[in-house]
């Protein structure tokens, strides 16, 4: 059965490869800082099991220190534009087909693993989508080499091309690549320290939520605000719902818990659209699309999303007011 441990080995090899190519990138004055960063991440994937909890914590400190110092900006050495245009003409729509192999396999693998007994033996059903996604990557690469038979001019060994090109793109993403993993870990620590209950106390002591609309607005805006801080509506939801959602909206004003929670979560999503802490949605695309303001706190992806997000936050508050108390 293919499960997470196999993906961790692949991930470790991928990040080790990124470290290798980053060290050779003469265009980046901080290439050894960048290389050390990816090497530490590779170590976490390959030997993290043997480091112990504190060892992994120290490894995180190393990653954070390197990222704070700065990974520099690498060159983007790849094929020349003329080569790519010629190649695009030669392969035509076959390129689209191969690109669709990845989501196609992710979808088919997930369905097969969850619904058939043999699929469940091949792919770990608990992690079906992730395993299938990675299988899709491997199948797509196999199709590239077997069907398109590409000629990679001046790239060294063709077998290393996927690693080299993947390293190029993940270097573009930079330290933002591990922010989601960091936020998930912060959530664990905050939960352990009982932060949710404390926030609830503050809301109940300092805000007079005596009208229904004030309480609805406080819950919706609070969800969006905590999501902006924590980068994740999932982290904000238990905090705000334990603080305002259940005690005030459901128990005091007799709101329908299903409506309150469903629309509360969506109010949080409006916050996700507004924050650089939601790195995989707002910072990663700015890096991948090479936007000039990608390092600004409020980059152009967030600014483009803001009007829709703010209108929808208002819509959510009104919807909750109308739908939750019938």
């Amino acid at each position: 059965m293919i499960a997470l441990p196999h993906l961790y080995v692949l991930g470790g090899v991928f990040f080790a490869g990124t470290a290798w190519f980053a060290a050779q990138d003469a265009a980046n004055p901080r290439r050894f800082v960048a290389s050390s960063f990816w090497l530490l991440l590779a170590l976490s994937f390959l030997v993290g099991d043997r480091l112990g909890d504190l060892g992994n914590g120290v490894l995180v400190v190393g990653l954070v220190a390197l990222a704070t110092y700065g990974l520099g900006k690498g060159g983007t050495a790849t094929s020349q534009p003329e080569e790519r245009r010629a190649s695009a003409q030669r392969h035509g729509d076959a390129l689209f087909l191969v690109a669709l192999v990845i989501p196609g396999t992710a979808l088919a693998g997930t369905l097969v693993a969850k619904n058939t007994p043999w699929g469940g033996r091949l792919i770990d059903p608990a992690q079906a989508t992730l395993v299938s996604l990675v299988l899709g990557v491997l199948i797509a690469l196999a199709v590239v080499f077997a069907w398109l038979r590409p000629k990679f001019a001046g790239a060294g060994s063709p077998a290393l091309v996927p690693l080299r090109e993947g390293a190029r793109l993940v270097s573009t993403v930079g330290w933002a690549a591990i922010l989601p993993q960091m936020l998930a870990s912060l959530g664990v620590v905050l939960l352990g320290a009982g932060v949710g209950k404390q926030v609830g106390l503050i809301f109940s002591e300092h805000l007079a939520l005596d009208t229904r609309f004030a309480a609805v607005a406080a819950y919706g805006i609070g969800m969006a605000f905590f999501t902006v801080l924590m980068g994740n509506a999932f982290a904000a939801f238990p905090v705000m719902t334990a603080a305002v959602g259940l005690p005030v909206l459901v128990q005091r004003f007799h709101g329908d818990p299903a409506v309150v929670c469903a629309i509360g979560m969506l109010s949080g999503f409006c916050g996700t659209l507004l924050t650089p802490m939601a790195a995989n949605f707002n910072v990663v695309p700015a890096n991948l699309l090479d936007l000039p303001d990608r390092n600004a706190a409020i980059n152009s992806v967030i600014r483009t999303q803001a009007p829709t997000a703010l209108v929808l936050l208002a819509v959510n508050i009104l919807l909750m007011q109308w739908l939750a108390f019938r």
């Binding site: 993906l7 534009p81 690109a99 996927p162 790195a279």
Partner: protein, 237 residues
């Protein structure tokens, strides 16, 4: 006192520190604050600090599956080298009805509908936006208005990323087995309230409709703005 960690998040935000640093500092401060007491000596804090660091390291290690998705970039990078983006540009230039707004509108609807069916992995910035959607949107604008000023090119790219995010967020909650719905169900169960996933997911539909309407209007306005700024120049020639 345990709220000091939240204060660190706010402070880091205001000071624009590196988000990784903010997150780690917030975790450590939360741990230290929890150990605070009037008579505590230094060794108590050292112990609390290392304990929190160990808890963070354990969680970081357990959550490394989150970062496995970057493997996708190996395949995308290889296809880019073979000219995937260039192919997407040429293809869209052949579709004469295509405008940036219409193309992104179609992508928005497709992304929202497939997300509502639980197919969230069909889109995404690494898999779809960078290799296909952004080159197509730029290609559609170039076919209409000729070479684009950088400012316009970047505005179009930002709109591509925004369409993917918004369609995903306000589509996925309609599907009953998505993480956020399961999180709500689990949380309410702990508080003694039993709800069916379907009872939750259907209340995501009104917001989904609102998101569709609001964003399609904005894309239409974006098209008009492109026509006003770039189209006029084209006519003048």
């Amino acid at each position: 006192m345990s709220l000091l960690g939240i204060a660190v998040l706010v402070l880091g935000f205001v000071l624009r520190a590196n988000p990784l640093l903010i997150v780690l500092a917030s975790a450590i401060v939360t741990g230290l604050a929890a150990a605070w007491s009037p008579g505590a000596d230094a060794s108590t804090y050292v112990q609390a600090g290392t304990g929190t660091l160990a808890a963070f390291g354990k969680a970081f290690h357990a959550n490394r599956y989150v970062s496995v998705v970057w493997l996708v970039l190996a395949a995308i990078g290889t296809l880019e080298r073979l000219g995937l983006q260039e192919r997407a540009r040429t293809w869209i230039a052949g579709v004469h009805a295509a405008t940036v707004g219409r193309l992104l509108g179609v992508y928005f609807v497709l992304r929202q509908v497939t997300s509502a069916l639980g197919l969230t992995s069909l889109g995404g910035h690494a898999q779809m936006v960078r290799p296909l959607v952004a080159p197509m949107a730029e290609g559609a604008a170039e076919a209409r208005y000729g070479p684009l000023p950088d400012r316009v090119r970047f505005a179009i790219r930002a709109h591509c990323a925004a369409a993917d995010n918004i369609a995903l967020f306000f589509g996925e909650d309609i599907f009953i087995a998505i993480a956020s719905i399961l999180l709500i169900k689990g949380f309410l169960e702990q508080s003694g309230i039993v709800v069916e996933p379907f009872a939750l997911s259907r209340w995501a539909i009104p917001t989904a409709v609102a998101a569709l309407v609001v964003h399609l209007v904005r894309l239409w306005l974006f098209d008009r703005r492109l026509q006003r700024t770039l189209g006029a120049k084209e006519d003048a020639k």
